[in-house]
Amino acid sequence: MGWLFVILAAILETIGVIGLKKYSTTKNLMNAMILVSGFGGAFYFLYASFDYLQVSVAYAVWIGIGTTAAVIINMIFFGESKSIGRFVAVLVIVVGVSGLKYVS
């Protein structure tokens, strides 16, 4: 259950970041809603996950998945660089998260 909450928190965080990006270029209600509900939801689910997981495990997974998702979305939708370095870094994070899941 805790893992599900952390993953949801990371996904919502990513939605918040997209909202931030869109809101910084176009200030309308829709983009503001994406921004606020994204970050609001992210904090709520992170809070919920602390009931089930160690703080540091939840935090590391949240940061890891959040960063990875942001990079993948930026690569696909906003045309950011697809360098080898970025793929290797994403792979390292995935290894870390899966390993942590396996031993927790």
């Binding site: 703080v55 935090y59 997974v61 031993v103």
Partner: protein, 115 residues
């Protein structure tokens, strides 16, 4: 020493404060303290990014948050760590730092080419 590093330190401290808050909050006035800390945290983060590459700021921020929460777990919440858990947490931090540093390097390269 860039003045923005002070904001990096402040944003990391705020991050740890609200995470600690999430774990101990029990009444409404606790939340009245925690929510402004989150807002201030974002503000410091934005200030830090004004003077330093975002990738660098985020890499340091993520590492500080992870190390800080690990220390919090051990010294405040009395959790224990197995060495293997520490290893995987370090792997995640290394990945996040690599990603952000790689981004900063490619940004600088682009700027040089444009100039």
């Amino acid at each position: 020493m860039n003045k923005s590093w002070i904001f990096v330190i402040l944003t990391s401290l705020c991050e740890l404060l609200w995470i600690f808050g999430f774990n101990v909050a029990s009444t409404w006035w606790h939340w009245a303290i925690i929510i402004p800390i989150i807002v201030v945290d974002f503000w410091f983060l934005a200030k830090a990014c004004e003077g330093l590459p975002t990738g660098t700021v985020y890499a340091v921020f993520a590492a500080a948050g992870t190390v800080g929460t690990a220390l919090m777990d051990v010294y405040i919440f009395n959790h224990t760590f197995t060495p293997i858990k520490v290893v995987f947490i370090c792997v995640i931090v290394i990945g996040v730092m690599m990603l952000n540093i790689a981004d900063t390097l490619s940004e600088q390269k682009q700027q040089k080419e444009a100039a």
